[in-house]
Subunit: 316 residues, 2 copies
């Protein structure tokens, strides 16, 4: 039986509101001459940043922050900081997609229904735009936060850099291996954790870190953090499983990227290794597990429950 | 007439000792299972990191730190931190070379006398290895420093991210423009400043920031910092001018990378725009100017003078 927390969230509405919040904050941050010239760099960056992405990772950061921070402690400046970090997370995600789509990687001509970055601006520019976005993610944390402490900034730099250096990149590298080396559940679980779940985990941990400004040494909060971390990892793996399933079952128009690519590229995926039905079951179980992590912490987090369901039920 | 400070430095010896120091510290930092597996990522990273690079930028960071910090204030832990930051700087420089050499960029098959990263490991891996190195640079600052304050870490993240996001990448992007758009002194000065001098400036500023641990609010130190910043910018531009000259006058074996590439690739360079002799004169004047910045600060900095001369007189 669902808890009270699982009711009453109109998730589509919530996602739209939060996505707009992140997009507006992005535009505020980038509304500066230094992010306009040279246009040969910043036009491509903005092309990929504002292409209708769902902002799931940034929203998870905001939602975790909002769930933990008590209303009395919240203030405009910390909200601002959390939005900045959400933008940093989205920068890292967006740059990883630009590099993923390159001819030497997945060689995908489309992303979210538009030509991918290198198709629109050329390969050299796409590589450099991605590089700048990765560095900008850390720059925003250092420069464009108002209220969080230097200690928190440092923790956020750690979360994000580790998720990328020790998660996303190794995950991508393993994903490039010949299919015979990864055609088993253990390996694809490892790849999904690295390339997808680690950044999603970092997203919720960044939100939690910002919310804990006033309570960094509270032992209850520390315990809660480990459940939030597990929540992030579990919905992260579920996210990748659903991605794999959608690649098989959806069409290019709905996905906004070329469907059926995994099979053509000899990618090892959950449906390929254990079949579509078992993959669905596994994602459902992970989301159930993730929710049970939330039930063990003294935090009202209806949006986190709803976001976990959304990740499971999304169609693109 | 040279000052006392300009005497008595055996620069070749100094460079060798400092380079070894950085290399050993790199090996200590990377001697961890998380930087070993997957070997498909970390072998390529180490291939490019340990290829006999001169470590000029990291050494400039160390030398500035050593020049400013007083012996009584120096301690093993701050030395450690400075070496870590020197490694971060070298990671950023090394990843920029990997991406530069890619077929869609400069398409160079050799780097320091060995096959460039993508020739040895393939294009996808070279792109991802570079990405991981950029992120690792920030991770080391956040994780692998012992004594510097969170405030200093944040300042270093700022210096490095700005040098990359607003310097190196825009510089590279402008360098890709058609030659007719950049065949003038103003434009090549701008490109040299962005793509080369900003990171060299950041290198000396990082060293200064670490040395100022105990004196961040000392007004004399603040004034000195602006001269150190100018010193970094000026030797940085001189460095690029000499690079341009060596591309014309040196051979592939001495350079360790393909010589004469700039002309073939329609790059606009100092020798192309103002001739070799005027380029040499300009580099000499910049180094003189840079040294005069040092003369205006109450710091004994013989190695910084010698490093400026080395940048001017180097043959590779």
């Amino acid at each position: 039986m669902p808890t009270k927390a699982e009711f009453n969230i109109n998730i589509e509405n919530y996602l739209r509101v939060q996505r707009d919040l992140i997009d507006r904050h992005f535009k505020t941050l980038l509304d500066d001459n230094k992010y306009t010239n040279p246009k040969e760099l910043w036009d491509p960056v903005k092309y990929s940043l504002f292409n209708g992405g769902k902002r799931v990772r940034g929203i998870l950061c905001l939602a975790t922050y909002e769930s933990i921070i008590e209303n009395k402690l919240s203030c405009e400046d910390i909200d601002y900081d959390c939005k900045t970090v959400a933008c940093s997370i989205e920068l890292i995600h967006a740059m990883s997609l630009i590099h993923d789509d390159l001819p030497s990687m997945d060689n995908d001509d489309f992303r979210r229904g538009k030509p991918s970055n290198h198709k629109a601006f050329g390969e050299a520019t796409a590589i450099l735009a991605g590089d700048a976005m990765l560095s900008l993610a850390f720059q925003l944390v250092a420069e464009n936060t108002k209220k969080i402490s230097k200690e928190q900034k440092n923790e956020i730099v750690k979360f994000l850099s580790r998720a990328f250096t020790l998660g996303l990149v190794p995950g991508q590298i393993l994903d490039l291996l010949p299919i015979k080396e990864k055609n088993n559940l253990k390996t694809i679980e490892n790849i999904a954790t690295l390339k997808t779940a680690e950044l999603i985990k970092a997203s919720v941990m960044c939100g939690a870190s910002i919310a804990n400004k006033y309570e960094a040494n509270n032992p209850d909060i520390k315990k809660a953090l480990s459940h939030i971390e597990s929540f992030g990892l579990k919905i992260g793996v579920a996210f990748q499983i659903i991605d794999d399933i959608l690649d098989v079952t959806s069409d290019t128009k709905t996905l906004g990227k070329t469907s059926g690519k995994d099979e053509k590229q000899n990618k090892s995926t959950y449906p390929f290794v254990i079949g579509i039905e078992s993959s669905k079951k596994m994602a459902q179980d992970l989301v159930l597990d993730a929710k049970s992590e939330l039930k063990r912490i003294p935090i009202e987090s209806p949006v986190l429950y709803s976001l976990a369901d959304y990740i499971l039920n999304r169609i693109s």
